[in-house]
């Protein structure tokens, strides 16, 4: 059966030329197709970023290894970080938001369909521009290809003097352009949520996914812009002779740091809050209970949004700020731990007293809970400034943020795919392969990232292409690399599942998980118009009300 016949639903069209299908997809403004494009784009770059990680880990298997040169290694970790953050997680989250939000709020599309398409293509262009640097980065100086300045691109390493050639420009412009795409999508999401909810869906009846996407989009608006501003300043320095970050002219290297981290910290909440959203949709369904404490979950998320704008310099505890400044940022960092931490209790409370079904989406969310707990606790350690003076810039930090990004965020992303793949494609993913993926990935993840804390504590800094033998780092690094290879294999299994199930998976039907939000009320995949009749809702779980008319939620909310 041809793919376009599936996407349209009941109506089948025979024998369309593939160029027509391709044209449809390239010119689409339908939120569901754009969502799928975002997700496929993210999965492609997940593979590429993962390959970069494998190169890094092979190089670090032994002290004084020479698998790659220092120049290549430095490009690898720069591209790995930049790719994973800007071209994997963010597009993935925007993709799911795009696909699900209109369906969950009873709308037929996003508020601005053409802006939606434009924003996607801006992001896609940014991704391909970044990778074009491997070909074009040398410029006239012959100096380097892909950017090698780290994904934070600290000044003055990025100045013309220390980064001749164009590699730093590829980083700057690719991320700048995709940043505009992100702002466009965030605007779209906010306008959709505020202006297009179906009748009866007050903000307090919106699925938590809606709230969390709303907060995430608000954060995008006010935190991507500082990065864009700083990148424009960097371009002024590099091309117009400006002195924003030119320390020889009295400029300040720390100013770049402030601007970057004013973006960088809210950015990590932009990445993790949609992961929270996935968990908040999946855990209730597989516990057969509503989310515990919906109002507090909303309040906590909004709190996180606000406080996250005030913690940025905890990434800069070692730059020599005075004790008053350091103390302030310890305070705000500790403060943000509270709304973040209590969410774990809310998810726990949701599971408590329920009937837990350990299907693959739920397995990933359970692992997320354990791993996010640990990640949060190592975050608290890093928030204690003096402890940070030892741990920052070391593999402890690398372990911490991978614990969040892989252990919490990627696990929720996997869970989301297993949960919503049936809705998007109309077919179920293979459950056994899913469980194999899960366990293999858990083993690889813990081998790598549990142990990775130790070299940090033993003095191993980050971003080093090789390390000295005999410092207690050798065997640990070897095992860490093995774990990475295992995660790679697990991911390949997962991708196989995605492809094979598309053609051979059992049909899903509208509502394979017996869930309660509006997207499960339409066919799988949904018709292009989403809803034949715009629904009216009376509670947070409209499908629960329909399935249990004798005991609807509306009676209790």
């Amino acid at each position: 059966m041809s793919s376009d016949a599936m996407a349209i639903g009941a109506v089948e069209i025979e024998g369309r030329p593939w160029v027509e299908t391709l044209h449809d997809w390239i010119t689409t403004v339908d939120h569901k197709r754009l969502g799928i494009l975002y997700i496929l784009f993210a999965l492609l770059f997940l593979l590429i970023g993962g390959l970069e990680a494998i190169v890094i880990r092979i190089q670090l298997m032994h002290a004084h290894n020479d698998f790659v040169s220092p120049q290549v290694f430095n490009r690898m970790f720069t591209m790995h970080g930049t790719t994973m953050i800007f071209f994997v997680i963010m597009p993935f989250m925007f993709g799911f938001a795009n696909y699900l939000v209109p369906l969950m709020i009873g709308a037929r599309d996003m508020a601005f369909p053409r802006l939606n398409a434009f924003s996607f293509w801006l992001t896609a262009f940014g991704g391909f521009l970044l990778y074009f640097s491997f070909l074009g980065g040398s410029g006239l100086y012959g100096a380097g290809t892909a950017p090698d300045v780290g994904w934070w691109a600290y000044a003055p390493l990025t100045s013309r003097a220390f980064s001749p050639g164009h590699s730093a420009d590829y980083w700057t412009i690719a991320v700048l352009v995709s940043g505009f795409g992100s702002i466009g999508t965030a605007t779209n999401i906010i306008a959709t949520i505020l202006s297009m909810r179906c009748p009866g869906m007050t903000l307090s009846r919106m699925p938590l996914m809606g709230w969390m996407t709303l907060v995430m989009s608000g954060l995008v608006l006010i935190s991507i812009s500082p990065l864009s501003a700083a990148q424009i300043m960097l371009l002024v320095d590099r091309y117009l002779g400006g002195h924003f970050f030119d320390t020889q002219a009295g400029g300040s290297a720390t100013l770049w740091m402030h601007f970057f981290w004013i973006f960088g910290h809210p950015e990590v909440y932009i990445l993790v809050i949609p992961a929270f959203a996935f968990a908040s949709e999946i855990i209730p369904v597989f516990s057969r209970k509503p989310i515990f404490g919906y109002p507090v979950m909303v309040a906590a998320t909004v709190c996180i949004g606000f406080i996250s704008m005030s913690v940025w310099a905890h990434h800069m505890f070692t730059i020599g700020m005075d004790s008053a400044a350091n103390t302030f940022f310890v305070l705000t960092t500790m403060a943000i731990a509270v709304p973040t931490g209590i969410k774990i209790f809310n998810w726990l409370g949701t599971m408590w007293g329920g009937k837990l079904q350990f299907k693959t989406p739920m397995l990933f969310c359970i692992a997320f809970l354990f791993q996010f707990l640990i990640a949060g606790l190592t975050g608290i350690m890093l928030g204690a400034a003096p402890f940070n003076w030892q741990l920052s810039g070391s593999y402890f930090v690398v372990a911490h943020f991978h614990y969040v990004i892989v252990g919490a965020i990627l696990f929720c992303m996997f869970g989301a795919i297993y949960y919503w793949y049936p809705k998007i494609t109309g077919r179920m993913l293979d459950e056994r392969l899913g469980k194999l993926h899960f366990w293999l990935f858990v083993i690889g993840f813990h081998l790598t990232f549990d142990l990775m804390h130790i070299p940090g504590v033993l003095g191993m800094p980050r971003r080093i292409y090789t390390f000295e033998p005999g410092r207690g780092w050798d065997s640990l690094n070897w095992i860490i690399s093995i774990g990475a290879f295992i995660q790679g294999i697990a991911t390949l299994l997962f991708l196989t599942n995605l492809v094979v199930s598309y053609f051979k998976g059992p049909k899903a039907g509208n509502d394979p998980w017996d869930a309660w939000t509006l997207e499960w009320s339409v066919s799988s995949p949904p018709p292009v118009y989403n809803f034949a009749v715009i629904p009216t809702v009376e509670s947070r779980r409209p499908l629960w009300d329909r399935k249990h008319p004798e005991d609807p939620d509306s009676r209790y909310e």
Partner: protein, 350 residues
């Protein structure tokens, strides 16, 4: 679905194993100078000590939190899993509980306040410590990819290996470092002596350390500064008071003049060497590269990238990329004879 329970147990055991591994790793013993492991949990100086004690406090609290939540999670997974014989009805639909949610908000707030206060105390103890009368002042200047150390009061300029005196707690003689940078951002990190502080161009940072025992303490640059960031290694040699004075006196002297190596000295002074390097008492006054006046008093070359042997020295001069690809020292491309006499000259710079 019974195997799920077994799998859960397996996961729990895995976690326990990792916890043990972690603990084992943390307790890795080291004696400076023998098998040096720059372990932050083996401090030998007051700032590192203060941090260590704070870290124990933080680890205890976070460890307890982890245990409590972990146990609750495992219990919930075991107790509330769907079993084959269950009734088909949905479980009681509980929407929340104000009391419980209040409790689990207030308790974390209290914990966070305690952590904040403990942390603030240490921040002040380290950053706002009163500077005693007898300190050794050192200016550390970060370069791509080596460390310049100046002792202004003693009139010494050296590189890469920092000598400081041991500090007796009864009569402290800490070392205060002023941190500057000649190019990009760097970071001075010797875990057993202090937390790291960055060297940032156009900015002056300070840090201090008062080692309680003699020995060699290892560290390296901890802020990505370019291609050879990985090989910008640090050695801090903590000497007894007498040894330090002896070292300082030797460093103050100009370079030894030895007629037998005058050919090598001629090579040094007529090729581009003197553009970057300085040798006190000669015409060489370059400051872009390390001061070589007493380079043979150092155990390594290229900021720790290689042992200080004649073979390595020759290799370094002929083609630095063999040892440190991407370092800013150019390949000198000397003839074998010139190289040989040059190395012999350099070997006299004790």
């Amino acid at each position: 679905m019974e195997w799920e329970g077994v799998a859960r147990l397996g996961a729990g055991i895995l976690l326990l194993v990792f916890g043990l591994l972690l603990a084992a790793g943390l307790c890795t013993a080291s004696t400076p100078g023998e098998n040096p492991v720059p372990n932050i949990f083996q401090p030998h100086s007051t700032p590192a000590d203060s941090i260590f004690h704070l870290s124990l406090f933080v680890l205890t609290i976070t460890g307890l939190i982890f245990l409590v939540v972990f146990i609750l999670l495992v219990y919930a997974l075991a107790k509330f899993r769907a079993r084959p014989g269950d009734s088909p009805h949905e479980p009681p639909q509980v929407y929340g509980s104000t009391q419980i949610e209040l409790a689990w908000t207030v308790i974390p707030i209290l914990i966070v306040v305690v952590l904040f206060l403990a942390t603030t105390r240490v921040i002040h103890a380290v950053q706002d410590a009163t500077k005693p009368a007898n300190v050794v002042e050192v200016i550390a200047i970060g370069h791509q990819f080596w460390w310049e150390f100046r002792y202004p009061a003693l009139g010494i300029v050296t590189a890469n290996e920092l000598h400081i005196p041991v500090s007796d707690p009864a009569n402290p003689t800490p070392t205060y470092l002023k941190l500057l940078s000649a190019d990009t951002d760097h970071s001075f990190w010797v875990p057993q002596l202090a937390g790291k502080t960055d060297l940032i161009p156009n900015r002056v940072n300070t840090m201090w350390m008062d080692p309680h025992r003699t020995g060699i303490f290892l560290g390296q640059c901890a802020q990505y500064c370019g291609t050879q960031h990985a090989k910008m290694l640090l050695q801090v040699k903590v000497d007894s008071r007498e040894d330090f004075e002896a070292w300082a006196n030797a460093q103050k002297q100009p370079a030894k003049q030895d007629e037998s190596v005058s050919a090598g000295r001629h090579v040094f002074e007529t090729t581009a060497c003197i553009n970057c390097h300085a040798v006190a008492g000669t015409a060489a006054k370059g400051r872009f590269g390390p001061d070589l006046t007493h380079m043979m008093s150092r155990s390594t070359i290229a900021s720790g990238a290689a042992e200080n042997t004649p073979e390595n020295l020759g290799m370094w001069i002929q083609d630095p990329d063999m040892i440190k690809p991407g370092s800013l020292m150019p390949a000198m491309k000397l003839s074998d004879a010139e190289l040989d006499s040059l190395v012999r000259y350099l070997e006299t710079l004790r």
